[in-house]
Structure formats: structure tokens, C-alpha cells
Assembly symmetry: C4
Homo-oligomer: 417 residues x 4
């Protein structure tokens, strides 16, 4: 029988060739590593090569982290006479192509950064008005990915049309190169990219910049919902999650809400908080872009970012972000469709005390109402403990740590025929 659950899924089953930037990339959310969260402007060829090598040697590559993304501050201070933008020769003495080739040789892909403005956020030369030139340059170097920021945009924002036109110029330029280049739009959610970006980009940031904190209010991130005139930065993990729940509906295969790069391993949060952070990024189908020092990781960090079952949720072929089914004070419950009739459920406790939380079959499969069979016994697997919790009927109650989650997978559906 047809139900609204199936209708919802239908949206994700749209042929991927017509969506997003039409480049066939990011069928599932991209995974990789980015220089910014850990190193900011202090980057050079050696640092990036070392990171790439560690991504291979640590096994991260095998978990799917395959993009090495060079964020801001790689540029020279001036364009060449032919208008080309070259890398800072002191940081990248061999030029970019040699570095890209080396990373390609490791079986990884490479990303670069610029801004749809006159300057990048770090004050370097950016690409507004030079879209075709810069796209060609990056294609020539062999780049596979562009993160395209929003600083110094000359006031070209304030309506979806102004933002769309500005970002479409680069989308067209990238497509014109003939090289498939994943296009990561980064305008912090201004003018609603979840509405206008899905035909031109593979992902779009939906909030101000993350910082390495669980839930602190910060004046530089003044909004608490998706609707925000000053996205800012220093947005906490909970701040971003609470914004992301409204726009999850807009994610599609080939076009994802980007909750910003990961902070796991950077030291500002507890292990449970990092687990919550990673869990929600995975379940909400954000790109999973590591932001830590991958050459020196604790076992706790590895435990979080190298969990095949959690990553599989992010990369699942249902392409459906988990949906927040309810909020009760500090507690939230998320449920998401997975392939093969399985379901991921997250019990999130943002409170300062551990709590027992309960999810019922009616809540988990709410969108299948009135066709939920509460008497159905279903095996539940704990994705962080990597073990079965046994079979349950009607509901499941679990202890959830403070500032933490339980992430479980239902091996069958309670939806009745």
C-alpha cells in the first residue's frame, strides 16, 4: 500500500543525472579532510602531503575519506598578467599541479578553495568576476573539488536571485571545464541555498561556521534558527543541529545540506560530545569532512571517525536525512530511513545529566501512520557498541549519557503492509 513514507522516499529516487550540478558527483555526501579547522592559514605543501599520507596509512581512506581539501590562504597576493591566480610560492614551491599529482597517486582526490567575492574570508584574492579563468586553472591542476565561500561579495546577496546568479556563474564555469569538479557552495545559508542551490551545487552550507564547542551561546552566531541575516561563526554543535532540522527536507542525492567541517579530535569537546557531533552529521547527511590533525590521532578520535556502521548510515543509498521526530526539553529523537527496510534512530540527550530515553514504534515510523505494527518484534543494533541489543517490541528504552547519544539501527521496519 502506498503511504506518505514511500512518497517521501520517492523524492530521493529521482534520477541523479538531472539534479545538483549535473556533474554526477556526491551521490552520497562527500567525505574527506580539510585544512581549515586545525591549521587555518598556516598551511603549506608539506603539511598537506603529510596529511594525505596519513589518510592513507591510518586507514581513513579505506573508510571513504577521499577528498583532501586545501582551504583558504594558498594564494599569491596578486593575479598574473594573464589573470591567472597562482599559489603562494613560499608555501607551494612546486606549484599546485605537482602536489595534486602526488595526492592523486595516493588514490585520493584534491579540493581547493575560493570565494564568490573580491576577497576570500582570509583577505586573499578571490574569484568573483574571474569564474571562467579560475575554474580553468583549477581543472588544469587536476582539482576535483571546490569550496566556494561568500566573503566580500560586493553586496550581491539579499534575494535568492542575487545569490543564485553569483554562485551559478562558478557552477557554469566548473562544468565548462569538462572536468568533474564537486561544487561545495558555502554561503552560510544566506537567501536559502536549500531552495536555490540544488540545481547548481553538490552541497551548500546552511549555517554560520562551526566551532569546537558543544552548546555555548556566542554573540558571533546570533541566530537560533535557519532564518538568519547574520550567520556568523562560533556556532556550536547544538546550534547547528537545531538549525539543520528544518532544512533536512531539502537534501537530495547530489545536493546536500553541509553542516560544516568536523571538529572531532580538536580538543574542545568531550568524547561523548564528539560522538554526538559525528552521529548527527552522519545521520543528517552532511558531508563528513575531518578537521583534525590526521597525522596524530588518539584512539578515541579514531573510534569515532572510523566506525563503518555509522559511516554507512551517512552513505546509505536511501539518501534520506534522519528527521527529528520529537523534542522533549533537552531530549530529541531522530529517525531516518535506510536501505533494505532498515531504520536508524538516534536518542539525543543535550542535558547535563544522563537520562533514560524511550522511542516507540509509533514515533519511529510516524510517517507510516496508520500502518505501524506496534507488536512487531525487531532486532536492534547499537552502532557505537557494534553489537545487537536483541529484539524489541513496541518500544525501546536506553540510557543516554549527558551531552550524548545512542545511535541504533532497526534491522526491519514496523511499517505494516
Amino acid at each position: 500500500m502506498i503511504t506518505s513514507l514511500i512518497l517521501a522516499s520517492a523524492l530521493a529516487l529521482v534520477p541523479t543525472q538531472v539534479l545538483a550540478a549535473d556533474n554526477g558527483l556526491a551521490i552520497t555526501p562527500q567525505m574527506g579532510w580539510n585544512t581549515w579547522n586545525k591549521y587555518g592559514c598556516n598551511i603549506d605543501e608539506q603539511l598537506i602531503l603529510d596529511a594525505a599520507k596519513s589518510i592513507v596509512s591510518s586507514g581513513l581512506k579505506d573508510y571513504g575519506y577521499n577528498y583532501v581539501i586545501i582551504d583558504d590562504c594558498w594564494q599569491k597576493n596578486k593575479r598574473e598578467k594573464n589573470k591567472e591566480l597562482l599559489p603562494d610560492p613560499t608555501k607551494f614551491p612546486r606549484g599546485m599541479k605537482a602536489l595534486v599529482d602526488d595526492i592523486h597517486d595516493m588514490g585520493l582526490k584534491v579540493g581547493i578553495y575560493s570565494s564568490a567575492g573580491t576577497l576570500t574570508c582570509g583577505g586573499h584574492i578571490a574569484s568573483l568576476g574571474y569564474e571562467e579563468t579560475d575554474a580553468k586553472t583549477w581543472a588544469k591542476w587536476g582539482m576535483d573539488y571546490l569550496k566556494y565561500d561568500n566573503c566580500y561579495n560586493q553586496g550581491q546577496s539579499g534575494t535568492p536571485k542575487l545569490s543564485y546568479d553569483r554562485y551559478k556563474a562558478m557552477s557554469d564555469a566548473l562544468n565548462n571545464t569538462g572536468r568533474p569538479i564537486l561544487y561545495s557552495l558555502c554561503n552560510w545559508g544566506e537567501d536559502g541555498p536549500w531552495n536555490f542551490a540544488s540545481t547548481i551545487a553538490n552541497s551548500w552550507r546552511m549555517s554560520g561556521d562551526i566551532y569546537d564547542n558543544f552548546n555555548r551561546a556566542d554573540p558571533a552566531c546570533p541566530c537560533e534558527t535557519y532564518d538568519c541575516l547574520l550567520p556568523g561563526f562560533r556556532c556550536s554543535v547544538m546550534n547547528i543541529i537545531n538549525k539543520a532540522v528544518a532544512v533536512g527536507q531539502k537534501a537530495r542525492s547530489g545536493g546536500w545540506n553541509d553542516l560544516d567541517m568536523l571538529e572531532v579530535g580538536n580538543g574542545g569537546m568531550s568524547h561523548e560530545e564528539y560522538r554526538l557531533h559525528y552521529t548527527m552529521w552522519a545521520a543528517l547527511k552532511s558531508p563528513l569532512l575531518l578537521g583534525n590533525d590526521v597525522t596524530n590521532m588518539t584512539s578515541e578520535t579514531k573510534e569515532i571517525i572510523m566506525n563503518k556502521e555509522v559511516i554507512a548510515v551517512n552513505q546509505d543509498s536511501s539518501y534520506s536525512p534522519a528527521v527529528r521526530m520529537w523534542v522533549k526539553g533537552d531530549q530529541q529523537m531522530f529517525s531516518g530511513n535506510l536501505a533494505n527496510n532498515t531504520q536508524v534512530v538516534i536518542l539525543l540527550n543535550a542535558g547535563d545529566k544522563a537520562a533514560k530515553m524511550t522511542a516507540t514504534w509509533d514515533d519511529i515510523w510516524f510517517y507510516s501512520q496508520p500502518h505501524v505494527d506496534a507488536s512487531k518484534s525487531i532486532e536492534v543494533r547499537d552502532l557505537w557498541k557494534k553489537q545487537s541489543l536483541g529484539n524489541f517490541t513496541d518500544r525501546i528504552s536506553l540510557d543516554v549519557p549527558a551531552h550524548g547519544v545512542r545511535m541504533i539501527k532497526f534491522m526491519d521496519s514496523a511499517q505494516s503492509s
Copy 2:
């Protein structure tokens, strides 16, 4: 004596030839059946023919449901060389014209769907930039109705002007065909279509998509008022009602607020909730577009959608949406002018317990102040019980079920001369 009540009515008495899309259609809100709520993308010729036959055989046609509307997913994946958009040949092997002819032969009219974007919400080819071509095609097929959606609109929104210009292109194209085609604008209330659409369309959606639920908050429908940057979907019946009360003032003969298609009979709500849902859609002068399986209806469903007296409120020649006269916690009272000096009143109880509710003559005819005669005895008829409740003076008190309504008609006015 002239009163503000009469002035308000004057607005509805404007000659219809100059309003709306200038096509003379939707003098009263359109009625019919649409494929989406029940079947989503799983549609084909046979399903639609079966539904059309049932609309006739069940008697629905006689109640006024005369449009059979084919929603999304009817399209081929590619335009023809001459740019025409044809139906998916596996779903519609005879093409569209044959199907339309068959339905016309049953005395029904036919509607089609597209989006004012590059793709429909379901990811199919849409009509932005192809307005003239597609309008001609639909006219050629004999289409009588277009539902025109808002997905993938290339950022062409954010001011009333951007939205108006985009939707006006199709309005002009439809008028240019020479065939009267009812134009159902569906941009979910973005940029205030209640202001800009009445000269170009016969109805306009004023909220995100409905789902089959009474009052559940859902993160995909984040707004609680008409003023909304992310209309979304999974909006509950009460969510839509609470948005609609502010824009009721903008409805006109030939130009209606569309509260979205009906969910009656789809199983997610109780009988009382469905009755409330249908009552309010009727009284607020929304188009009444069934969304259930009309080939297989329970008697409870039929009781709701086949009530001549309730439908008559929707189709009344006063063209005036009922107005919410007060809110007291979970309780709301609506009052609406009807022809021949009669009045419809709805006592709505959104609370979880049955309640006795009272409406006074002063509240019901508030806009006639100071000319209300509280001592006037007026016969009151219960439109769902289909019987007179007797005569009342000054006020009426009725038991209203939880999540339910009492819908009553006053056979005379308490307005004094």
C-alpha cells in the same frame, strides 16, 4: 444603514470579469480530485480512468467534484526535438489526449501539473522558460486546469516582483491559448501570493504542503504564521488553519486561498479530525480537492465529503471566507457571511477534551456593530447533523468533541437595520 459588514461584502461583489486570471473560472472555489496525496508518483492512465469512473459512479461528480487533476510524474524524461513535453509512454501509452477525451466524455474536466522551475518537485522536466510551448500542448490535449508548482525556480523568488513575473509568464501563456484553463498557483505562500496573484491566477497555495495529521509539530514545516521563509511540508491541519486566518481577507471570487488538497479518507486522522479538516477548508473557501482513493471509500469518508449543505457553504455566492472571531486557548469561533442574509458559524475545539462552547450574537455579527439585535430569535441548523437545532436568542451553546467542530447555519441575521 450602511455598515462595515456591507462594505466588506462589497469587495466580493466586484464584477468577476476583471479579477483573477480574467478567465471567468473559479467563480466559486474549484472542486475535484488530485492524484498526489494518495498515489504520489505511482500514477498511470488506468489509475486515473478508474478514479474518474468512480467519481461519476459514486456520485461525487453530482456533489460538484468535477476536476480530475493529474499531479507530478506524468512526464517523459526529455523534451521532444520541437521542445514539446510528452507524457511518459509507459504510464500513458495512448498519450494524454485520449485520456482527456475519455474523461471529458464522463462529463468531467481534467487538470495537469508542472512547476515554474527547471524541474518539478519530483525531479521531472518543468516549464520555466517553456511557458508558451507547454501551455499550447496542454490546450491541445484539452486540459482545463493547471497546478503550477515552485520547485527548482533558479532563485527567482525573494520579492513579490520576482515571483509575480515568473508566474505571470504562465498566466499569459494559458490565456494566449484561447482555452479557458483554471490556473492554480502553487508557490506555498512565498512572497505573499495573496497580494500579487489575484490578477493572474484563480487560486494560490498559502502554506507548505499538508500531511495527514491533525496538529503535530514537524521540523519540515517550521513556521506557525503566514509569514514564512521555509514553507516546507508535513504541515498539519491546525498549522494550516492558523496560517490561513490572516490571509482570508484576500480571497475573492475568481481568486482563492488554497489550503492544499484534502486528506480525508487517507487514514492519518480520526473521523472528528477529518470532519474538522473538511469543515474549515469549506468555510475558508479553499478549493476542495479530494486526495483519497475514490474507488474505495468508507461510509465515514463519504459522510464527510458528500454533504450538500457543507459544500454549499464553500460554494456560496457571498464568496466570503469565514473569519475567526475569537481564540480562547484551544477553542476558536469562526463566522462567515452567506447569501440571503444567512450566516455560517463554526465552533472549533482543538483541545484533547470535549467542551461546551458558546457563540453570542454580538460575536457572530461583530462586524455589524453597533447594529446587532441580541434579542432576535434565529433558527439554527446543524450542517453535519442535517437538522434544525431550533430557535435561539442572544447566544448558542453546544457540546463540541475533542479535535472537532460544530458547524451551524443561522437562517437569518441578527444585524438590525
Copy 3:
């Protein structure tokens, strides 16, 4: 000594020839009578002539009410071949010029109505795209005043620029006629006319339409502050006052915030409420446009609208709207500069019970801080009782009726040198 009070006044002392529509009109807020609030579309030549005669015979003219304004529904249903818009011949059998001449002969001026859209709010032919033609026609008829509405504006709103450009077209057209025509812009506050209209119009509406009620919340007037995407109608007197306090700062000689036409005498409010209504419109420097039946007025109505001292506040040469100095629950205190170092103070009690209210010299002359002499003895005159209340020092305490005001004038200033 220079103080901020003087600085504030400086803004009002700007030479009038460079402000507003540059037409030298509305040096003080316009006064007159308008057909709409009482008669709506039910107007004709005789009704208007009768009203004009009564304005003279009743003495209203001598109080300053000198504009007779014909609101919507005067038009024929079609433009002439030369594009001219003529009056409905059944309502105005002699045409407009004869009527205007008659009213001019009474020593009164005449106003007309149209909309910056394709249709007026009542559905008649309007002037968007015909600004030059219609302005010439009105000038030819001898019109002295245009009320220019906002209905059916083809989506040309949403930024100040879109609204400004649309309304400026008529401003230019009026000026091009060579006849001084007071330009009353009526876009209900959309896009902030207090910012964009002062160089093109003599007044601008700042809210949705008034209705004849003191403080009832109505879903058709959904906003409670000046910042409003759906101005609507059925806005109560207190709703409009609470919006007007923020924009009072933008009023200038030649460019006034229009709080909408008066309801005094139409029967929906008590005498005290009407007194409050008129008091605040006068003190906030709204145009004073009667909306009642001037051929048949009670003594209570006359008492309110024919009070020279209250009208003098509105027409005072300081051109300064009273400012709300404080709000305490249901109570508000307003203070406004008047010429010759005098001051108007209003104690407003929106509560349901009479109350004693106190205004201190520090509060009344707050903007003169730190130069307020609390020990100064000042004569206080009651403008509604038309008598002196004696001299007071430091503060004054008065009984204020429920839903009522006390409006007093200080015959000197407590500002010290």
C-alpha cells in the same frame, strides 16, 4: 544652551520648499472628510454635495476641515478610447468637473482616489501605467488631492525601491500638471514609506486599514508593530497607535504619517474611546480626515471633532508629533513640543478601569535632560475641559477614565536655560 530638544526641533525647521512632494502643501496635516469609512462604494454626486454643504453649514469648514475626498468606486468600468478614465455616469451624471466646481464654490477643496495598481481595492480601473493621463484628467477637473492606494500592484513591492519607483511615477505626473495636488500615498506602510516617501508625497499611511473598534485583535490585521508583511485591515485604534509610535520620528512639515481616516461618530466605540482616538490622531500629527455622516452628527461627535484647542495641537507650527515617553502596562504617556515653548501631554489609559496617572516634569521634558527645572511652576490647561487646571510643580496627577485620555497643555516649558 543647545540641547537635544533643540536639535530635534531643528529637523522640523527645514525649509518646507525642499521637502515632500515639493508642492508646498500639507505644511500642517491635511484636514477634511472622506466618503469611505461611512459609505464605501455607495456614493454619488448628491451624497457628496450634501456632505460638502453640511461641512460648511455645521461649521466644520471653519475648524479647518477643507478637503472633500471622493474615495473608491467613482469610476466607469472602462477607459475611454483616448485612455481617459471617466466617472460612473449613473453616480455622477454631470461629470466630475461640475461637482468639483460646486464644491470649490463653497470654499472647499476636492480630492479623488485611485490605486498604484491595475485595479483599485474595490476592483475598479486604476492608474498603474496611466499616471500621466490620469493626473492630467484630475487636474482638468480641478482636483486638489489624490489618495493613491496599493491594491493589485502587480508584485511591484518588496523593496523600498520597487515601491518608491511606483509611487514616484504618480508624484511626477501630479507635479507635471502644474496644479498643486496634495499627494496622499496609501501603501499601508509596506517597504517603509516613512523612509522613502517624504520627498514624493505629503502623507503616507503607516498601517493597515482602521476599523471602528478600540482594541480588538483581528486576524485580518495580524501585526502588532510597524514592521509588517501583511498590513491588512480591521486594525483597531490601539493597534494603530502602537505601530505609530515608532515612526513618529519620520514626520515632517509637508510629509506626515497617516494613521488612516477617523471613525469618530460611526458608532463602534464609546465616547471616551472616540475622544482617545481623536486625541492621538491629532497629537501624532496624522491627517484629520472625518469618516462619519457629517449631515447628521450627535452633539457628542461634534464635541470631539470641533475642539479648536485640540485641532490647534495637530496644526501647531512646531510640526512635532508627540512622543510616547513611557509605557506602564495599560498606561502610556505622550509629550509633544508646541510652538511658543508650550507642550502637550497625553495621559492614556487603555485599561478597563479608571486610573490615576502621573507625569513628572522629568518625564515630560525628558529630551531636555539635564536641563529640566522640576521646581518650576507651570500652568496646565485641560484641552477637552477647555479650562485651566491651575499651576503645578514637579508633577501632575490626574484621573483618567478607562479606555480614555486626559489631554493637557503646559503653558510654559520646564526646560532650564
Copy 4:
């Protein structure tokens, strides 16, 4: 080790030649004196010369106050035939150049005022459409500074693009003169100048006009956050501070948030309130533009505006506005990076009673988490008492007066390596 604190600083280390108006000015926030707050339109050559002389003789110049800015009301009422705008000959009988030369001879710089509209806020001729002409005129006179206001802007606002384009026209015109002219953009925060102005201006106002009051709510300044459609005036010191905290993130060397001119010494606030006012303007990196009578200053006023250590915070080469680290009821704590690993901290008590307030190392260096050494002993200097308070470990607790601040400097950082 790299931390987010260092990353944040990196933004301020961007080479100044590419930022702001590209004019090399306002590397640190501009300092000076402006005629408006004290004298409004009552200005003339003598008043300004007297002020300039006092700025030198009082020693203010040596503290860094080097711009003498002539605000509104210097203009003639009409442009010359060649379109030039000349000064009012009665106020400036020698013309502007002679006055500028005199002030230059004192070692001071001179500023002028106009509006990006048809009229200035005071109703005088303004520069919209005359950007090139007026910029040339000012350059010819030797002007070093332009304050460019927003009144009568013909509706050219409402999107960042409309505002940017309007203000960029003058930026280009100023640069085209060849003379370095500091460009002080004054559009009261409309359309978010913190986003669009940093490449075209040296500072931008971020709120409505200040008035000489600590924390009074005023209807003419209706917003409480940065996001405001009616910036207005009569904004209190606390109102502006509470708006400024969100946009501090956007300040850069060469491009500053302007919190409006100072009121210190004008009499509307207590000494502690003025100290708080000046402290926060300094720490938030606002331009420091005196607004008092500099020819006649009390010792209390001098104590505040002539404190080298406080001014040094404003002019510090870290270019980093202090950040509000927490709010607890009426209390707020700010922390800001200074050069040489030092830190400024402000304990602000907006309450009506004195309070003991505590700042911990963890809070002060929060952005250095997890690398804060709470056990580190650091010398703390009181910048208003101009003395060391001794060494502290882990936290510091100080008595803070009502409506007052304690402003302290940490001589080392608790950030661990």
C-alpha cells in the same frame, strides 16, 4: 600549537592594502571630534576654529584625536551653475578652503558631511547623483574625511546590492580624487554594511543614532538587535552595545563598526555611565569621535577621554574588538586580544546596584580552549585606576559600580602552548 584564537587573529593580520576603501586609512579606528552631538545645525567657522584650537591646547590632539569633522548644515541651499556645492556664506564667509587650511596648520585633519540621498537628514542639499562633483570639491578644499549619511535615499535600499551600489559610487569618487579621504559610511546598519561595506568604506554605522542616555527604551529606536528595519535615533548606550556584540566579528583593520559619536561630557549620563560608554566604544573598536564642547570640559570629562591606556586598547595593533564572553542578567563580561600576548577584560554591570563580578581564566581565554592554564599567575592592571592590581591565578573578582565597568588588562596570556 595552532588554536582557534590564533585563527581568529589571522583575520586581522590580512595586509591592509587590500581591505576597506583601499585608501590605507583607519588602520586603527579613527579619532577626532564632530560638531553634531553638541551643536547640531548651529555651526559656523568660528565655532569650528575654536574647537580645533582647544583640541590642540587641551592636549586632545596628543591623545590621538586628530580629525575635526563638520557635520550637517554647512551647505548653501542651492548648487552653483557648475553643480558645485558651496558652504553657506553666512556661516563660512571665507569659504571652506581657508578654514581647512587653518585647521591643517594646527596639525589636525578635517572632515565633511553629506548624504547618499537627495537631501541630508537636516534637509540640506546632498550628494546622490553628484558623487564625482562633490568628491572633487571636497578634495579641492583639502578634506581628509567624509561622513556619508542615508537620508532621503529615494528608496535605494532594501537589499545589500542597492545599498552597496549607492555607497560605492561615492567610494569610487573619493578614490578618483587621488586624495586619501577617510570614508565613514553612515547608513545606520541597513542591509548589513558589516557584510557589504568593508571593501568600500573605512567604517560603517551599525545602529540608529545615539543619544545621551544610558539605557532608556525609546520608541524612536524600536529594535533591540542588529537586525532592524527602522534604526531610528535616541538609541541608548546599552541599546547600541547590545546590538554591537553580534557584528564585532566583522571589524577589520581599515574597516570598523561605528557605534556613533561619543556623548561623554554632554550631561545626560553619570560619570560612571560615561566611563562605561567610553570603555565599550574603545574596546569594541569603534571610531572615537568626541561630541562634546571641547572648549569647556570638566575634569571628569577629561579623565575619561584623556586616558592613554584606554585609548591604547582602541588603537591596539591586534585590531580585535573585545568579545562578549557571557551575559548573566544585568552583568556582561568582555574579553579582547591585545598585542604582545596581553588581553583586555571588561566587567560591565548594567544593573542599578553595585556588584562583585568574577572572570575566570577559562572564560577570558575561552577561545583558546582546551589550552588554558588556569594555574597561571598573571599581573592585572586597572586601566581606569592606572595601577596594577597585583597578580592573580585562575580568576579575578572585582567590585563593579552600578551602571559601571571595571576595565582591566592582563599583562600575559593564560593560553598554554
